[in-house]
């Protein structure tokens, strides 16, 4: 059972990639990317968790009590910001792609390839 968080992380990574590979709609591709990314949140937070520990807020806990690892949480915070911003950038690209190609199917987006 203690493997569950890591297993879910691996599952999300691979299933998200499946979505990206199989997608016929770029909006869906972008949303699947966020699933791939969320696997990294679970893995990071999973490795920083300690059974019975409390959140890393030291205001109202005795100094001796166990705290979870705050470092991984900081890494995930950065990760979440990257998710939000890159998704916005990608969706702007997709909107433009639709304008230029008249389609959001990746199969219709071919220019230089022959």
């Amino acid at each position: 059972m203690s493997f569950l968080p890591y297993g879910v992380a691996a599952w999300l990574f691979v299933i998200g990639l499946w979505g990206v590979v199989s997608s016929r709609n770029l909006v869906r591709t972008v949303l699947c990317l966020t699933i791939v990314q969320s696997s990294t949140y679970l893995l990071l937070l999973g490795i920083g968790y300690r059974t019975g520990a409390t959140a890393p807020i030291v205001a109202d806990v005795p100094a001796t009590s166990k705290l979870v690892d705050p470092v991984v949480q900081v890494l995930v915070l950065t990760d979440v910001v990257i998710e939000a911003t890159v998704t916005a950038l990608l969706l702007a690209l997709v909107v433009q792609a639709h304008k230029r190609f008249g389609s959001v199917d990746p199969a219709d987006l071919r220019q230089l390839q022959d």
Binding site: L44, I47, L75, I82, T85, V86, L93, Q111, L112
Partner: protein
Amino acid sequence: MTHLSALPVLVPFLAGPLLVAVGHSAPRWFNDSVGALSALAATTICVLLAVHAAPHPFPYWVGGWRATHGMTIGISLSIDATGAGLAAFSGLLVTAALTYSLRYFEAVEGLFHGLMLLFMAGMMGFCLTGDLFNLVVFFEVMSAAAYALTAYNIEERAPIQGAINFAITNSIAGYAMFLAVALLYARTGALNMAQIGAALDGRHADPLVIVAMTLLFVGFLTKAAAVPMHFWLADAHAVAPVPVCVLFSGVMVELGVYAVARLYWVMFAGPLGPHADAVRAVFAGLGVITALLGATMCYLQRHIKRLLAFSTIAHVGLFITGVALLSEKGLAGAAVYVIGHGLTKAALFMCAGVLLHRFATIDEYDLHNRGREVPIVGVLMAVGALLLAAIPPFTTFMGKSLLEEGASGAGYNWLIVIYIAVSAVTGGAVLRATGRVFLGWGESEGPETPQHQAAQEDVDEERGPREHTPVLMVLVPAVLLVGALVLGLIPGAVPGMERYAAQFIVHANYRAWVLHGAHVSLPVLPASHISGSDYGYGAIATVGALLVAGLGLTPSWSAPQPRSALGQRLRAVVVGLRTLHSGHIGDYIAWWSAGASAIAGICLITLR
């Protein structure tokens, strides 16, 4: 001097927002000068840092959180000559690109300059940082700016498609790196690269460490466009604005190789030390595949920017083999080659930019004989092509000779054949284009392909052909080419690189100066000399390039009719290769996954 350490990142981080905030109402000269001057300032600081760190590399603890007893909680900028030198090189190319773009196109409201500066800050932070997570953060800074810059010409179709493929592939590469950081953090309880290296030392490399390593390497090699994670590159490099291409091909891609080298020797050389032979074989193989595929695809292109993009893939393959040799010769060769190639490729893209600017097309056949109007650009392109072919005795040749020495030193003599072939084919492809465009040699009509139409579509969007070419647009590539010609000839430059490389590959060194503030001095090496056989190989490559160009310009050869069985098979291979580069992001990610799992699988099997 050490106080300057954070400034290469800080200067563009202050100038970028300034340009974005006031650029829309400021006059053009303001945006141009703030952009170019801050790039120049950051470059100068990097040069100063490189000079200062050359004898004794040093860490700079951001926020004053120094290491105590080899334990860190803060982030270090770990500054040595290699990192700061590469940062300075990227700054130099950004300065050159911004200078070139003074006359190249109308930039929008300071956003172009602002994003270029952020891109530079990302590259510089990437080169200087000593913290693994911070490295990934700066990778993302660089990427976010690069995605937007790729799609700069939103009124055309191809840039949008190229940017989407670029952004999705590189984002996934980033996620793989996040997983790797998590794995290594769980194992070592550290994020500082030196400290991770120390913690991994002396332990058996179990699957966790090996997979973490391959995920990191696959991530950075995606940026470096190693096969089969390379598909995004040609799509993006062929369509980004020329000043941006200069940076992509000239330095961004090479940074991926730099990161692999850095991480290997700082973190993984300890646990994988007993498996050095297997590491060498796996990554040299990857480099060779990349080089051969890149060279083949390069020769098959008629869209000149795309041709140059594939030549970059071919050369990255060579750099990967150089690093994979795991010797100071190989690494020094790759470093010298990166500088020579970066300057040359930047100049070649700028020449392509002149053609696009003047004739509003970048198709080799459309441009047939039209280059006669700008003969000087033809000269520049020919010089660039010969430099790509590593003509003796210039910088790229120096790099290639070192690679060859490294290869024979490691018992990989057959790599020399690859080096010669790749130099000859990529140089020859550019020479072929030069001959057709500037001298009117060869046929003027090529087979009708979608690529041809894409190259022509630019005609409607650009403001049509122009009568004049600004002097600056010829001057900047000329200066870069002069740099590529003379840098390797400066006495002491190449041997100096060898010494830095020798320092770079000593696993324990980095840790000593980062974590314990030790003074690490440069090793003294026996003076290496270029032997007669190196000149022989160089001559073969140059002649080979001329032959390849000649073949490409001979009518009966340029459109191979499948007469013989061999011809038919060759044609099938060509068609197959072209179909692989389909432009479909689903294909690219399927290949990416295949590459990642294959590399990880091979490493798991061979490095146990």
